[in-house]
Symmetry: C2
Subunit: 341 residues, 2 copies
Amino acid sequence: MSTIKQVAQRAGVSPSTVSIVLNNRSTPLPISQSTRERVLKAARELKYNPNIFARSLRTKRSYSIAILAFDIVDPYCAHTIRGVEEVISESEFHTLLCDVQNNEEKMKDYFKLFKGNRVEGIVVMATTLELNRRIIAQLHEEHIPLVVIGKEMPGPIPCVVMGNLEGSFSAAEHLIKLGHQRISFILGPSQYVDSRQREKGGRSALRKYGIPFDGELVAEENTVGWGPEAGYQSMKKLLKKRKKFTAVVAFDDISAFGAIRAISEKGLKVPDDISVVGFDDLPMSAFSNPPLTTIHYPMREMGRQGASLLLKLLGGQTIKKRKLIAETHLVVRKSSGPAAM
Amino acid sequence: MSTIKQVAQRAGVSPSTVSIVLNNRSTPLPISQSTRERVLKAARELKYNPNIFARSLRTKRSYSIAILAFDIVDPYCAHTIRGVEEVISESEFHTLLCDVQNNEEKMKDYFKLFKGNRVEGIVVMATTLELNRRIIAQLHEEHIPLVVIGKEMPGPIPCVVMGNLEGSFSAAEHLIKLGHQRISFILGPSQYVDSRQREKGGRSALRKYGIPFDGELVAEENTVGWGPEAGYQSMKKLLKKRKKFTAVVAFDDISAFGAIRAISEKGLKVPDDISVVGFDDLPMSAFSNPPLTTIHYPMREMGRQGASLLLKLLGGQTIKKRKLIAETHLVVRKSSGPAAM
DNA sequence: TTGATCTATGTAAATCGATACATAGAAATC
DNA sequence: GATTTCTATGTATCGATTTACATAGATCAA
């Protein structure tokens, strides 16, 4: 590795000059074109790369942005990270990926890192953990620039969320347009905003098309919690009621899979007897049996928007909108079809 | 942020002393117990954390290990990373997660980073990319300590691979023990070592139980490449032959899903008519319809072993075995059952 | 012509914070 | 008083950046 001194020597100038040229600084001191070129040539020849430790020590900048991911094994998380990295890598910053692994200890370790000025900003992927909320509040109080992805934040904390309302609206609308009139709903845990918003979106689609909302067709008790098992149990209950319906809007893809299993066990077919629409568009949903019609969760896009927002904040730009909403879209596959007569 | 000077002042000693105490150095210079305690107390009170930039500048160490991941969105990759991080985080090093995104440009960027002494070692997750091979060779030539995970490496390059042979052996054995005698195989692309090893493992299980190998029951042309489509087409061909079989060993879970789809379309049932065993144990395989019996790919364990190996290398320990083999295990779910009569 | 004043272009030296090496001073021992 | 033995410190250093100053030549008023 060559140093700035070596470059200076080779170019026949002082280290100061090299620094000025390579950083394109010019504010109070003009450097002649010929000197500039000599320096650049020398740097090229020596394959000079500044020592980041020395630079950061002096400038008190780290040129890095942390991505606080709750669990990189989670596909939501991974895709969001992808989006964030795409944007950051085009800037002068680089990313420091911090995988919290849904683990309080790890979170605290990273917290120290953040307070130690080792990063200039943070993109936080929201979780439902209470811890998460506290940490975000603390970081914000310490005036560390941050953007939260995936959760509506109180006050002035910038965030990027997803259009649950529009998403579930178009899920229900899709079924209605296929001729379904009796549509059941499997709701998620009611303590989550997402659940409530998705329910609202579905209802408003029914309203728009003049279809009465039938409480009998809603499975909302989430006694079994969240996951495929919840979808399975919910669908079993719905089927037991012997109240006819030809389609179901599931809270998410995972619960949709559970529901499909319950439907199959009952000897019914998807989509011939019952159409199923999920929400999230997990990678596996394209390969499930049958491939799942679902609402695409724009994770990557949210990552991108979050990163851009943070870069603007770091750049000192004034932000008009501190809450961004990323758009979803419907992905039609094989689990939905025309309503049976 | 407080500096070493402030700590020194508060403790009434020199910065040198503080450095010595906090780093637990003692080689040529004993520090009295009382001084030691005063320093530690002062550091605690000031919440002192060494400036890593200053430290690294001076020591010429980065205390970081890169994880070169070809694609964090890929579950293999994500789980392996998890394993690596678990081990590294217990050491004095921290990880720098480099997501290559299967992209040559990114790879080159990171390559620069590595040559710039910014990391002390690398855990490389192998891909099938030719680029990958070149990069690894170059890094090794530059004497950057590295360990490759997921691919047998030539020469002295340390690596961790998975037991394909034992895995596919136990997949076939599982079926045989369920009473299956006519077992078909869907092979992966023959240019991959994994494919060939898995084939070999399956054959040796047949041999052990005295079951003749029937070439008619093997789908090996991979004209449709890799993925669920390949599994689907392969199974269609096998079924067309009208040669009876009651079970199939798929190259991996993805091809197993394709095979299951072909079986369903034919009006047959899994596992009643045909048992299916996959390989990899993808996260989705537990939720597929039916849940898939498969061989668990020990990604996390491989990550752990790789990281430990690298740490040993960095610690200057002499390594006896430079090739580690991580063990697989059978996961029995619903896609396999007793052979139909 | 002269020396004063600008311009344009560079550079010397201090600095960031921690560590490494050689050395210093005090107490204890003989 | 000389010599060990303990214990701690002074100072240079890592490599880049920054600030205040330096120099050479041009310009210009007297």
